[in-house]
């Protein structure tokens, strides 16, 4: 029987499909094994890079990703807090907060030192209007750095808002809602930090 005749048989079809699928699966499984560690390392690096963005250089020498506690906020939502240490001594913490912006939740990452002063803030995720609200990104402007060095009480609670609401932080032309949301998230983040400070540093880190 020639190959041409064989190709017409139903059994051959099934065998061909099965063989191709098997070969594809074996190759994929092999490559998956080879790339898995690389992908995991790349994702780890991503997270580390964003954590490092809200801390000054040389601020901590520990692996923040491994030094993590999970806490609960008053409303029951969970917050993962990464702790920064230098030579074993607690120096600060990094955690996520979010607030409702114009289109969706705006998620920010906040770095705070043990004195409750903000080290850095970055926006991790948002869906604000391009060209209006997206100036909160560090790539689009320096606005997000205006939080650095601030703490609860500096400015005072009444002035911890955008200028339109009598606060000290700028809003953008045409957009008030987005900066207002970020300011709110940062304020709540500081309140969370102050309220939970003993708990954040009480649990020893798994070094």
């Amino acid at each position: 029987m020639t190959l041409l005749e064989l190709r017409e048989k139903i059994g051959y079809h099934a065998l061909l499909l099965g063989a191709v699928a098997l070969a594809a699966s074996v190759t994929l499984a092999g490559v998956d094994g080879k790339t898995r560690s690389g992908i995991a390392a790349a994702e780890q690096r991503d997270l580390q890079q964003s954590l490092a963005q809200v801390l000054p250089e040389g601020f901590a020498d520990n692996d923040l990703l491994k030094d993590k506690v999970n806490l609960k906020r008053a409303d029951g939502s969970a917050v993962a807090v990464f702790r920064a240490r230098l030579k074993g001594e607690a120096k600060g913490a990094v955690f996520q907060m979010s607030a409702r912006g114009y289109a969706d939740e705006v998620v920010v990452l906040i770095g705070v030192d043990v004195g409750g002063r903000i080290l850095g803030v970055r926006v991790l995720k948002h869906k604000e209007t391009p060209g209006l609200g997206d100036k909160i990104e560090i790539a689009k402007g320096n606005w997000i750095r205006s939080f650095e060095g601030r703490s609860l009480g500096d400015p005072t609670a009444a002035r911890f808002g955008v200028k339109k609401d009598g606060g000290v932080f700028d809003q953008f032309a045409g957009a008030t809602i987005t900066p207002r949301a970020v300011v709110k998230a940062v304020r709540e983040g500081l309140q969370f930090f102050v309220a939970n400070q003993p708990a954040i540093f009480a649990v020893p880190g798994k070094e």
Partner: protein, 224 residues
């Protein structure tokens, strides 16, 4: 069988995937928000096109016509998944930009189209060359659209090129208009349609002019 020169010409210009066949428009319109994105997507697709062409061609006498489509799809899907995993592990920054679109290469009809129209009936080397030239034509189109949208939308060219090509290509990253306010429409989806439409019109204008210049008796003046 077409000569190798013809195969290359067809892929790069006369049968260009985007500008002539209007295939693979999903990635064309979705990822071309910058020249770098277009280039990265184009190169990834080129790799899939060339390799899938060669595999399909080398298996062509064993593949029954009745089950050829599922076989092609399994092969292409496996290749795309390989590219996806490889980019994620080794070019992670580019992967973060292109990530969600890489999987869409499977659905890029030009890949299945070339397997069906060319690789299933031509020898291995010609199929590989066809995939390569089709892919490079696709890359050219995507990069061009990406550059135009980037220039009009953000006032830059090849921003973040060093993520894709390595730090030595940093010189490609140009800011054409400093302090540019931004023309968001071009970066948003409608900009892809507008730029593609204008480029198609320009290509047809160019070809019509050439046909007129060649004179009424030349074969290129005949309607295709």
């Amino acid at each position: 069988m077409a000569s190798y020169k013809e195969i290359a010409e067809q892929g790069l210009w006369t049968q260009n995937v985007v500008f002539s066949q209007l295939l693979g428009l999903c990635p064309t319109l979705a990822v071309t928000t910058s020249g770098t994105n277009g280039l990265g997507m184009g190169l990834a697709t080129t790799a899939v096109l060339a390799v899938s062409g060669m595999i399909v061609s080398s298996l062509r006498q064993w593949i029954s016509p009745q089950v050829r489509i599922p076989v092609f799809i399994v092969l292409i899907a496996a290749l795309v998944t390989l590219v996806d995993m490889g980019l994620n592990a080794y070019l992670h920054d580019l992967y973060k930009v292109l990530g969600m679109y890489i999987a869409l290469i499977v659905a890029n009809c030009s890949v299945l189209g070339r397997a069906e129209a060319f690789a299933a009936r031509e020898p291995v080397f010609a199929s590989g060359l066809d995939g390569l030239s089709m892919g490079l034509g696709f890359t050219f189109a995507l990069t061009l659209i990406g550059l135009i949208r980037e220039l009009l939308g953000a006032g830059t060219l090849f921003s973040q090129a060093s993520l894709l090509l390595g730090p030595s290509f940093k010189f490609l990253e140009t800011t054409v208009v400093a302090d540019y306010g931004g023309f968001l429409l071009m970066i948003l989806p409608p900009g892809g349609f507008l730029v593609l439409g204008c480029l198609l019109a320009a290509k047809r204008l160019y070809e019509a002019r050439r046909a007129v210049a060649a004179g009424p008796l030349s074969p290129s003046a005949q309607p295709a």
